[in-house]
C-alpha cells in the first residue's frame, strides 16, 4: 500500500462542522459517499440561510426599506464572494442560477442558438453529463450544426482526437472539467488554447471540479464556466454561471420577466445590467447568501488542501479495489494523477442497484445507475455502475467501511 494515511488538516475537526455526519442509519454510523450527487452542509451555511429568513427576509434590488436593503446587500455581495472564489473579474461576470443545468441552458439558448450556424460544429466529449449534452443536441437541431464527440478511453480524454475534432468550423466546445463517472480531470487549459486558436468558444462544466479543486476561470481562459452550489457545501437551488463580460453582453437572456429589465414599454423592453439580466424573477436569495457562506468555508479550509486530502483518500480506495479481483473499477489505474474523488465500480455478479442497497444496510451511501451518462455507459458496455464519491470530510476509515460493505455484497452474490 503506497498511500500514507495522512491529511493536510484535522479531518475529525472538520467533520464536527457538519451536523448530519453525526447521525446513524439503522443503527450504523452514516458513511456518506454520494458527494458527486450533492455534498453535506456545514452548520455555518445552514445558519446563514436560517439567519436570512429569521432576521433579514425581504425581496431584493429595489426596496427602500431596511430589510430589503440588507437582503440586497447580502445577495448582491454574494456574487462578489463567488467571483473572487472562481477568479472572475467581478460580479458582472457571475450569474446566480438554480444549478449547473440552468447555467448550460442559459449559454445554449442565449448564446448558442444565436451564434452557431449551419456548417459549424459543436464539440463535446464522450463523457458529458446529460446536462451538457442534451441542450447542445437542441442547439444543433435548431441551427443545423454538426455534433462531434471527443473519444474517451478508460476515463481519459484522447487529446489528439480533441485537437483533430476542434477545427476552423468549431463554434463551441462544451466539455466536462472533472468526470462525474471516473473522477478524471480534463486538462481544459490545453483544449481552451487550441479552441481559441481556431476561433471557437469554450464552456467548461465545472459541476464536479469547482467543489473539489482550485479553479481560476481567468487563468483557465474559459469563455463560460458553470457549477452547482449544492455540491460545494451550499444550499440546493444555488448555481453559478461565469461568463467573460463581453460574451455575457452578447448573450440574450433565455428567461424573461421581472427583475431582469431596465425599461419596459407595452411593446418592447430593454435588459438590466450584468449579471441581473440573466436572473429573471425573484432569485433564490437565501440560497445565494448560503452559497457565499459555503465558498468562504471552503476558502478557510483551502482548496489546495481539500484537493490533496480527497486525492489521497481516493487513491487509498482505488488501490484497495484495484487489487480485489472481484471488484471491477472503471477508469484509469490508481496511479493516474489528474483525478478527483470519484470511483465507479461493480462488485462480482451483483447489479449496482443491489450493491448500493446492501451497502446502505451498513450505513454507506453510494449511488448506482447511469450517472446521467447513458451514452457513456453504453460505450463502456455496462448498464450501470456503483459510484463512491468523496469529499473533504471523508476518512480512510470510511474507505475501510466501504470495503467491508463490498465483502457483504460478495457474500450475498457469491
Amino acid at each position: 500500500m503506497s498511500v500514507e494515511k495522512a491529511s493536510p488538516y484535522n479531518v475529525e475537526e472538520v467533520r464536527d462542522d457538519f451536523p448530519v455526519l453525526e447521525r446513524t442509519v439503522d443503527g450504523e454510523k452514516l458513511v456518506y459517499l454520494d458527494n458527486a450527487a450533492t455534498s453535506q452542509k456545514p452548520g455555518r451555511v445552514i445558519d446563514s440561510v436560517c439567519d436570512f429568513y429569521r432576521n433579514h427576509n425581504a425581496n431584493v434590488h429595489r426596496g427602500l426599506h431596511t430589510l430589503s436593503q440588507e437582503a440586497s446587500e447580502a445577495y448582491e455581495g454574494a456574487h462578489d464572494t463567488v467571483a473572487e472564489f472562481l477568479g472572475a473579474e467581478g460580479r458582472e461576470e457571475i450569474v446566480f442560477t438554480s444549478n449547473t443545468t440552468d447555467g448550460i441552458n442559459t449559454v445554449a439558448f442565449g448564446w448558442g442558438t444565436r451564434n452557431v450556424e449551419e456548417g459549424d460544429n459543436i464539440v463535446l466529449t464522450q463523457m458529458e453529463h446529460h446536462s451538457s449534452l442534451v441542450p447542445w443536441q437542441k442547439v444543433a437541431e435548431a441551427t443545423g450544426a454538426e455534433m462531434r464527440f471527443v473519444e474517451v478511453e478508460d476515463g481519459v480524454l484522447d487529446m489528439s482526437d480533441a485537437y483533430d475534432k476542434i477545427d476552423e468550423d468549431t463554434a463551441m466546445v462544451s466539455l466536462v472539467h472533472m468526470s462525474n463517472v471516473f473522477g478524471t480531470v480534463v486538462p481544459v487549459e490545453d483544449i481552451i488554447g487550441h479552441a481559441h486558436d481556431h476561433g471557437a468558444r469554450v464552456l467548461v462544466d465545472g459541476a464536479q471540479s469547482a467543489p473539489h479543486i482550485p479553479v481560476d476561470v481567468g487563468e483557465m481562459d474559459a469563455d463560460f464556466f458553470v457549477t452547482s452550489g449544492h455540491k460545494m457545501c451550499g444550499p440546493t437551488g444555488s448555481g453559478v454561471l461565469y461568463g467573460k463580460r463581453e460574451l455575457l453582453e452578447e448573450t440574450e437572456p433565455y428567461k424573461y420577466g421581472g427583475e431582469m429589465i431596465k425599461l419596459v414599454e407595452y411593446e418592447d423592453a430593454t435588459w438590466a445590467d450584468l449579471p441581473w439580466k440573466f436572473e429573471a424573477g425573484t432569485p433564490n436569495i437565501a440560497q445565494g447568501i448560503g452559497l457565499a457562506e459555503a465558498v468562504e468555508y471552503l476558502e478557510d479550509l483551502g482548496m489546495e488542501k481539500i484537493h490533496e486530502h480527497e486525492k489521497s483518500v481516493t487513491r487509498y480506495a482505488l488501490e484497495r479495489m484495484w487489487e480485489d479481483e472481484e471488484v471491477e473499477v472503471y477508469g484509469p489505474p490508481p496511479e493516474h494523477e489528474a483525478r478527483g474523488g470519484v470511483v465507479s465500480f461493480n462488485v462480482a455478479d451483483a447489479h449496482p442497484h443491489d450493491s448500493s442497497q446492501l451497502l446502505s444496510d451498513e450505513g454507506i451511501a453510494t449511488r448506482s445507475g447511469h450517472h446521467c451518462a447513458q451514452p457513456l455507459m453504453k460505450k463502456m458496455g455496462v448498464p450501470a455502475t456503483t459510484r463512491a464519491s468523496f469529499y473533504l470530510y471523508n476518512t480512510y476509515e470510511e474507505v475501510d467501511a466501504l470495503m467491508n460493505g463490498i465483502e457483504t455484497v460478495k457474500e450475498v452474490f457469491a
Partner: protein, 127 residues
C-alpha cells in the same frame, strides 16, 4: 435490514431466471426501461383463441429484484387470460416475491408487470 430481500429464492431466480429468452413472432411484445436505474425488460407472449397465455418469455438486464420478479411473473401468468393478467397489481408482485420492499425497489419489482401489461394493451388495440 434489506439483506432479507436477498433470500435464496430471489437470488436463484436472478441467477437462473425461468422463461428467459425470446419468442419468434409473438402475439404480445413490449419493452420498457426504468429510467432511474437503467433496468430493461422485454416481454413476449403467445395467446390462444380464448385469450389465454400459452407461452411467455422475457429478457433484459437489471437488478436482482427486477429480474427475479419478471421470472416469477412469467411462471405465474402461464394459463391466465389476458384480462386476469391485466388485473394483477403491485401487491400481487409483492406476494410473489414474499419480501418487504422500499418504495424505490417497488419500481424495480413491478417493471416486468408494467411491460407485460403494456404489451397486452397494444395487442388488444390491434385485435
Amino acid at each position: 435490514m434489506s439483506r432479507d430481500m436477498y433470500r435464496e429464492r430471489i437470488l436463484n431466480h436472478y441467477r437462473n431466471p425461468h422463461n428467459y429468452g425470446t419468442i419468434e413472432d409473438p402475439d404480445v411484445h413490449y419493452s420498457d426501461v426504468n429510467p432511474s436505474c437503467g433496468d430493461e425488460i422485454d416481454m413476449y407472449a403467445v395467446v390462444d383463441e380464448n385469450d389465454e397465455v400459452v407461452d411467455v418469455k422475457f429478457d433484459g438486464q437489471g437488478c436482482a429484484i427486477s429480474q427475479a420478479s419478471a421470472s416469477l411473473l412469467t411462471d405465474e401468468v402461464k394459463g391466465m387470460t389476458l384480462e386476469e393478467v391485466r388485473d394483477l397489481e403491485t401487491d400481487d408482485i409483492k406476494e410473489m416475491l414474499g419480501i418487504e420492499l422500499s418504495p424505490v425497489r417497488v419500481k424495480c419489482a413491478v417493471l416486468g408487470l408494467k411491460v407485460l401489461e403494456g404489451g397486452i394493451v397494444e395487442y388488444e388495440k390491434e385485435n
